[in-house]
Symmetry: C2
Subunit: 196 residues, 2 copies
């Protein structure tokens, strides 16, 4: 019955995530994905030419959920310093809920992420671009100093200085009782560093 | 011949590090340590009552090398902001050279570190205390603002904001071509955040 619906790339990616969750990243195959969808594996290959391309696309889709989740803080009307704090807090909460809510899927995607460093680099650049937009607003409105040496470098420094609260390498620390207080202290230091 | 020298705790710890390097953390035993020293394993147990106590002590010894290495920047006469920058740079270089120079020993100590979280917590607190001493000097001399909400919190925030450049979870990134530039940008942001 599943086969009677139009086979879109999005449906294939949903099924791939399901298969990865079920069998783990080492065992999941394109044949498994086709079986879940009730189609031939040739139909899947018409959308994604290789297994690697499919794994890359599902990684990109998973990561892009974060960007969509954070966009309201980039485009909001609140002062830029409040928006940057909220953006960082939303990123921390989002990553923490992913890590805590479904640790197996998180571990699966850690494997996929390690295979697809170019996808991750692009994703990090998108996140840094979101920070840069908030910093540019803040500079325009006099909330933040002129970025030194430039906007891109400062935005990346903000991203790196808060690594502890979004980089999955630190996920074991996110459930520590003092994690929130540690986050507040780092964000206060970063915001202070951005002020005129 | 080795057995004719006085058996000190320090000699046992040196031999333990050697045995860990040779056999790996899973296989190294107290008997191996005793054999390297040319003594009975009972002699080792007179200094360290359990294998766990020996492993904890060797972990602490390894970590304390970092503290000794950084102390000159705490006690120096240069302005506090320059000392903090140098302290952070020295920590980054020291960790990077350990990770790059002897990756197997680094991996061994990552295992020991994961077994001895209380030792690591104490070690991190000592590092944060060194930062706090530099911040206190800086506040006294008007180089840094009064710490908000307090010295201990601000010192820990500096430590966390620079996690990317000393936490071994990030060691794969330390050899990236832009690692130095990324370090400079984060330190500039942190120092800006500390200024009056």
């Amino acid at each position: 019955m599943a086969g009677t619906e139009t086979l879109t790339a999005e449906r294939i990616l949903e099924a791939t995530e399901e298969v990865l969750r079920r069998y783990g990243p080492a065992k999941a195959t394109v044949v498994d994905v086709a079986r879940v969808l009730g189609v031939s594996h040739g139909s899947v290959y018409r959308h994604f030419r290789t297994k690697a391309a499919l794994r890359e696309a599902v990684t990109e889709r998973w990561l892009s959920g974060t960007l969509a989740h954070l966009l309201p803080y980039v485009e909001g009307a609140a002062p830029a310093d409040a928006r940057l704090r909220e953006w960082l807090a939303a990123l921390f909460r989002f990553k923490r809920s992913k890590a805590g809510g479904d640790p197996e899927l998180m571990a699966t995607f850690q494997v996929l992420i390690s295979e697809n460093s170019a996808v991750v680099d692009r994703h990090e650049q998108h996140l840094v671009d979101q920070i840069a937009r908030i910093l540019a607003d803040g500079h325009r409105d006099g909330v933040f100093a002129a970025p030194e040496p430039d906007l891109a470098t400062t935005a990346r420094a903000v991203f790196h200085a808060t690594d502890r609260f979004h980089n999955p390498a630190h996920r074991a620390e996110w459930s520590a009782p003092d994690a929130e207080a540690a986050f507040d202290a780092v964000v206060a230091l970063v915001l202070s560093g951005l002020r005129p």
